[in-house]
């Protein structure tokens, strides 16, 4: 009986520790934390105060990754196909308009667009320091209508036990902070910035 209990507890512990996939966001190889300055190679630096986005896992389950919530960086386990994994970054149009309001769809998480059915797929807020000058920015990137849908399906090379790595330098180095420090609407620019973000998935 004792052996059985020990086995069960060990199995549960194994899945708790190893049965998850860690999301690791980085800038030039340095893990991203909120409210911290990160120097860029060109001398500029960036400070992120909010960063969250939606992912659709191979199991078709939707998750909201929020850097301010450490638990959200641990994804439920998903199996691999030949050391690759097919992820959807951002909800597709069906998910956007499903009318579901539970779990990660809960408007409570601040991703629901009240005035325009659908969800923000990526929220990022912070300050970019360019040539010594601070440029606050706030981007709510979303929209599900063609040709500016913020939803990309991507096959990613990934090995079991490794974190899911997302490099943010391309996204953060191309923020139009001088001309468009805020984006709250779907459109070409939101689409482009979102695409930059998806290219950071390894």
């Amino acid at each position: 009986m004792f052996k059985f209990r020990f086995f069960t507890v060990s199995l549960l512990a194994f899945f708790f520790v190893f049965g998850q996939v860690k999301v690791e966001l980085s800038i030039h190889g340095v893990p991203v934390n909120l409210n911290q300055w990160y120097a860029q190679p060109n001398g500029d630096s960036v400070y992120v105060t909010e960063f969250k986005f939606y992912l659709v896992l191979p199991t078709d389950s939707l998750v909201l990754v929020d850097v301010s919530e450490q638990e959200s960086l641990q994804l439920p386990y998903f199996s691999l196909e030949d050391e690759t994994v097919l992820l959807r970054i951002g909800m597709d149009s069906v998910m956007n308009t499903s009318g579901r309001l539970d779990g990660p769809y809960d408007p409570l998480f601040g991703m629901y667009w009240a005035w325009n059915t659908g969800y923000t797929q990526l929220k990022c807020k912070g300050i970019l320091q360019l040539a010594g000058k601070h440029h606050p920015f706030e981007y709510h990137l979303g929209g599900y209508r063609s040709p500016h849908a913020t939803s990309v399906q991507k096959r990613i090379h990934w090995k079991e036990g490794q974190p899911l790595s997302i490099q943010l330098e391309r996204f953060l180095s191309n923020l139009p902070v001088r001309t468009q420090p805020k984006i709250m609407l779907p459109g070409a620019l939101a689409h482009q910035l979102f695409k930059n973000f998806t290219e950071g998935f390894q």
Binding site: G99, L108, W115, T117
Partner: protein
């Protein structure tokens, strides 16, 4: 022995009452109307859910300072519109930029708001609850406030099976009430059911309506749910590009949803910005193409119609047959509160 039996029986009945399932509520579709678009499977109606939604609709607890409820801008006796205010005011007397539309027959609507930006009635209430010019609150605060109210906790548990009130429960309860606001008993409806007859003037007005207005304000819902510009011109004080806000397309600039005309006798003012306070002003606008401003949707221009004063009066007489006093003054949709 008898006393013990009755005590046991009473306790048993109380227990049954406490765990009794919600009373299913049938949704009535008037004869000849199209199939409702609302997905009732996503939010099965019950008497308890309807009453919970009704109480929330009338409860200012949803606003940031508990001063404004849904009913502040959607009053029953004005067809759930906001009478006498071109655009509605919310918390801190902040004024919005659109005329609060009447709420009725929402089960048939493919989208909501003047620009059609909201596709689901279940999620619609997030907008007024969180909009700074309306209730100005946030969902987390609303949930905290509701959980503090023991009457609400008990009813939410009864309807949704949990005292842990979530956003979806609040929104779905509100939708159960608003989707139930069906107006189908106007004189027009009774005429189509051959229960009453129109007067001569109403008949003439109806014939003119079918000729000139029915293309957009299509029977029996009196809207075709399309987006149009009716030539009233851009309101430069409000800077509202309408449908283009949602689609991002230039061709949709200054287009707004075609509203239903049901109960319009009571739902003044008219147009998305509430610029006309009287029906005769609306008729004057449509009757005089020379007054129409750019942009304008094509239908009225093609017809180039001009209605004389008598014809305008006839149409107004018909429009008044769309008033459904049973709906406007039904106690079923009136104020209710489950809070003490």
């Amino acid at each position: 022995m008898k006393t013990v039996f009755f005590i046991m029986l009473s306790l048993g009945l109380c227990a049954v009452a406490l765990v009794a399932p919600n009373q299913e509520l049938d949704f009535f579709v008037p004869q000849g109307w199209p199939k409702p678009r609302y997905n009732f499977e996503s939010n099965p109606l019950s008497q308890e859910g309807f009453e919970l939604g009704r109480s929330l609709f009338y409860d200012p607890i949803l606003s940031k300072d508990s001063t404004v409820s849904c009913s502040s801008c959607h009053l029953q006796f004005t067809a759930f519109a906001h009478v006498d205010h071109p655009t509605s005011h919310g918390v801190d007397s902040r004024v919005g930029k659109r005329n609060a539309p009447g709420l009725m027959n929402l089960a048939w609507a493919p989208y909501f708001h003047w620009d059609g930006g909201v596709l689901s009635l279940n999620g619609q209430a997030v907008n007024p609850i969180t909009h700074p010019d309306e209730m100005g609150s946030d969902l987390a605060t609303v949930l905290v406030k509701l959980k503090r109210e023991k009457e609400y906790a008990a009813v939410f548990k009864k309807v949704f099976g949990t005292e842990d009130i979530k956003t979806q429960h609040v929104l779905k309860a509100l939708a159960q009430f608003t989707v139930s606001l069906v107006s189908y008993n106007s004189k027009y409806d009774r005429m189509t059911r051959k229960e009453v007859k129109f007067s001569e003037q109403e008949k003439k007005g109806y014939a003119l309506f079918l000729k000139h207005c029915n293309q957009c304000h299509k029977e029996p819902l009196f809207t075709n749910y399309e987006f149009k510009s009716n030539g009233i011109g851009v309101n430069t004080a409000l800077v509202d590009s309408g449908r283009a806000n949602i689609t991002g397309k230039a061709k949709d600039a200054f287009l707004f949803r075609v509203p239903t005309l049901r109960n319009l006798e009571y739902s003044f003012p008219y147009m998305h910005d509430g610029r006309f306070s009287k029906l005769k002003e609306v008729m004057e606008h449509y009757a005089h193409p020379a007054n129409w401003a750019f942009p304008i949707s094509t239908e009225p221009v093609k017809k180039k119609y001009m209605l004389n004063l008598a014809q305008q009066k006839d149409i107004i007489a018909f429009l008044k047959t769309l008033t459904d006093k049973g709906f406007l003054f039904s106690p079923q949709f009136g104020y209710s509160s489950i809070r003490e």
